[in-house]
Amino acid sequence: MIPYLDEFRDGKLAQVIAARIVDEVLPGRRYRLMEFCGGHTHAIFRYGVQDLLPPAVELIHGPGCPVCVLPVGRIDNAIELARRPGVILASYADMLRVPASGGMSLLKARAQGADVRMVYAASDALKLAQDNPQREVVFFAIGFETTTPPTALVIRQAAGLGLRNFTVFCNHVLTPPAMAAIVDSPDGAGSDLDGFIGPAHVSTVIGTQPYEQFVAQFDKPVVIAGFEPLDVLQAVLMLVRQINAGRALVENEYSRAVTPEGNRKAQAAMADVFELRDAFEWRGLGLLPHSALRIRERYAAIDAEKRFAVPPIAAHDHKACECGAVLRGVIKPQECKVFGTVCTPDNPIGACMVSSEGACAAWYSYGRLGRAQA
């Protein structure tokens, strides 16, 4: 068994925490809690965490899925890069099936002849470049702050090695601005949320400190939680307590991996390689200022957007797609008009259905039972 994993999945302890939650929810009070991070969405569905919670506690699935929030135009860019002669596009598997414009995807482009390769780690993309000196390797870098430091390292390595055939198409995005955008959204939906379950591994990198401004500004509690189901349950308990007491603090349930200052070494690597973009288009959240990263001038030689003059493509989601509303927790997946009919995991229209972390895919695969019984 895996130490430090299995103990945090113990069914008996789950009953203990669940009983506490049942005890402590105030009668007549609703608790709408958003788990920002796709990993939490996955855990909640996979282990059936909602089944152990009283009806007063509702878990709303937020946009913490870097696959889901990447706008279609950027995927179009990646596909176009992959199609250029001589290019090998290296990508994490998560992105391969995401639908872009015209129903195209990286996987479909591969079927048509584009050289798209799946990698598990950023260092694998670097290795591809070293092993294929006559080809141009472009690494499709996505992810929140957890995944960004590895990209920073390979960019530094590539520069240090003087590699001429390796570039990175940078789509790294930041968590605190996205969380703020949800609460601050123009349709006021965010104000209906009572608390946040904060991301586990983003926080390992950035620490708990960056959330202090959020709780001060919006007066909503944040509990950073680990990915295991017991972590999630405990975080719910901690949020219920804060809400009952009228508090809005940052608490850290995942103290075994998260500290207030986070991983300074990783932060330094990111700061060395990346800088803030003025603004970045997020699927479902619109244009957010200072919410994404681009490669600094001193590493311009490794920047795919510079080497290949990647044009901004203002692509739009399919007309019927309501991913934006789902991502912000405004509607539930099954309330989307095309959910489960036109839009299914086999034929996804929007990103929420493609990524297994997307609220729609998770709900479709795991949660249909509740819907059928309702």
Binding site: F45, Y47, G48, M118, S355, L369
Partner: protein, 348 residues
């Protein structure tokens, strides 16, 4: 002076490669067939070297199955495409409760494929067929240009006879039935993945590839009226159960805690972000029988080497939605849905 016999240079299996002449129908092909395939598969029905094999007609209903094998990589811990192609098709026939009798094997070879690898694969097939007691009685070889095949594609067909009175079929699951699994899941898929580039990790997990007809025969001796049998190959246990639920028009409920998963398979699935329920198996089967027969069936499975880890994992019930549900070890409940596309490792 005596006339010298025609000297035919023997095939260089160490360094030689497949070329287009091997599929041309001429002397080179005949030589490959004789020196490699015939020698490895040798049996009385294959030896005549006709375009077909003439075998005694068996009485009863014939079960027939065919499978194309395109696994990559060709060699993986615990097996290779050769023995996989033998086991897989034997198993399909065995899932009808039939005793497999004969196999055919068709090869599509890629130009440039190393003959040393081909020999290794063919000998593995021969060994698998011998151990299973199912001869390969006829075959075919074609060669395609470089780039048109992934080294080698193998299609095998098996025929067998379904014993009198045995009626095993996917639509026979009934509410109240029990669901049994012959052993741990996920071994094959993880073994294959561990050899894929860019995913390399060290593990002692081996593919579970095996011919299951012996196990099935033992099961039928204990419980003649097994309702359903299925081997959970591509798409894993989840797919097999969904197929059966769909065919029979029933729902299923399984217990996560009862499903055997080897710790290493569980660990590999964790870091790759995979769900063992969807990972392929090549030496396991799912059986569905009436509740009163479950204990006897379980005992028969556990008594056989290929069923030592067998377990009752759940039951069948009435459900117009045909959902397969699972009670998680954690105490919650979730749906185990059909697999979407191909299960890919994830970072998220």
């Amino acid at each position: 002076m005596n006339a010298k016999k025609d000297y035919v240079r023997p095939i260089d299996f160490k360094h030689g490669r497949v070329d287009m002449t091997h599929g041309g129908g001429g002397r080179a092909m005949a030589q490959l067939i004789e020196e490699l395939f015939l020698r490895a598969f040798d049996n009385e029905w294959l030896r005549p070297m006709n375009d077909q094999a003439r075998v005694p007609v068996a009485a009863g209903r014939l079960a027939m199955s065919t499978d194309g094998h395109v696994v990559s990589p060709l060699f993986f811990p615990g097996g290779d495409i050769g023995c996989l192609s033998v086991h897989g098709t034997i198993n399909d026939v065995a899932m009808a409760g039939a005793a497999p009798l004969y196999l055919s094997a068709a090869f599509v070879l890629e130009e440039g494929f190393p003959l040393a690898d081909l020999k290794r694969i063919v000998e593995s097939m021969a060994e698998a067929a011998r151990s299973a007691g199912v001869p390969i009685v006829t075959g075919d070889t074609k060669v395609v240009e470089r780039g048109k095949a992934d080294g080698v594609f193998i299609t095998t067909t098996a025929v067998g006879v379904v014993p009198e009175g045995v009626d095993i079929s996917g639509e026979r699951a009934r509410p109240g039935d029990r669901i049994l699994l012959s052993g741990s899941i996920g071994d094959h898929g993880i073994a294959v993945m561990s050899k894929r580039e860019n995913l390399s990790f060290e593990t002692t997990i081996e593919s579970d590839t095996a011919a299951l007809h012996g196990l099935v025969a033992a099961m039928l001796r204990a419980v003649p009226d097994i309702h359903c049998l299925r081997d959970p190959t591509r798409g894993g246990l989840a797919t097999a159960l969904n197929e059966l639920a769909h065919q029979s028009g029933v729902g299923m409920q399984i217990e996560e805690a009862h499903i055997p998963v080897r710790p290493e398979v569980a660990a590999a699935c964790e870091f790759l972000g995979l769900d063992p329920l969807y990972v392929a198996n090549e030496g396991k089967l799912v059986a569905i029988c009436a509740a009163p027969d479950a204990d006897a069936l379980l005992a028969a499975m556990r008594a056989h080497p290929l069923g030592a880890q067998a377990a009752i994992v759940g039951g069948v019930y009435d459900d117009p939605h045909r959902f397969v549900q699972m009670r998680t070890a954690f105490g919650g409940s979730r749906i185990v849905d059909w697999l979407t596309g191909e299960q890919l490792p994830r970072i998220c």
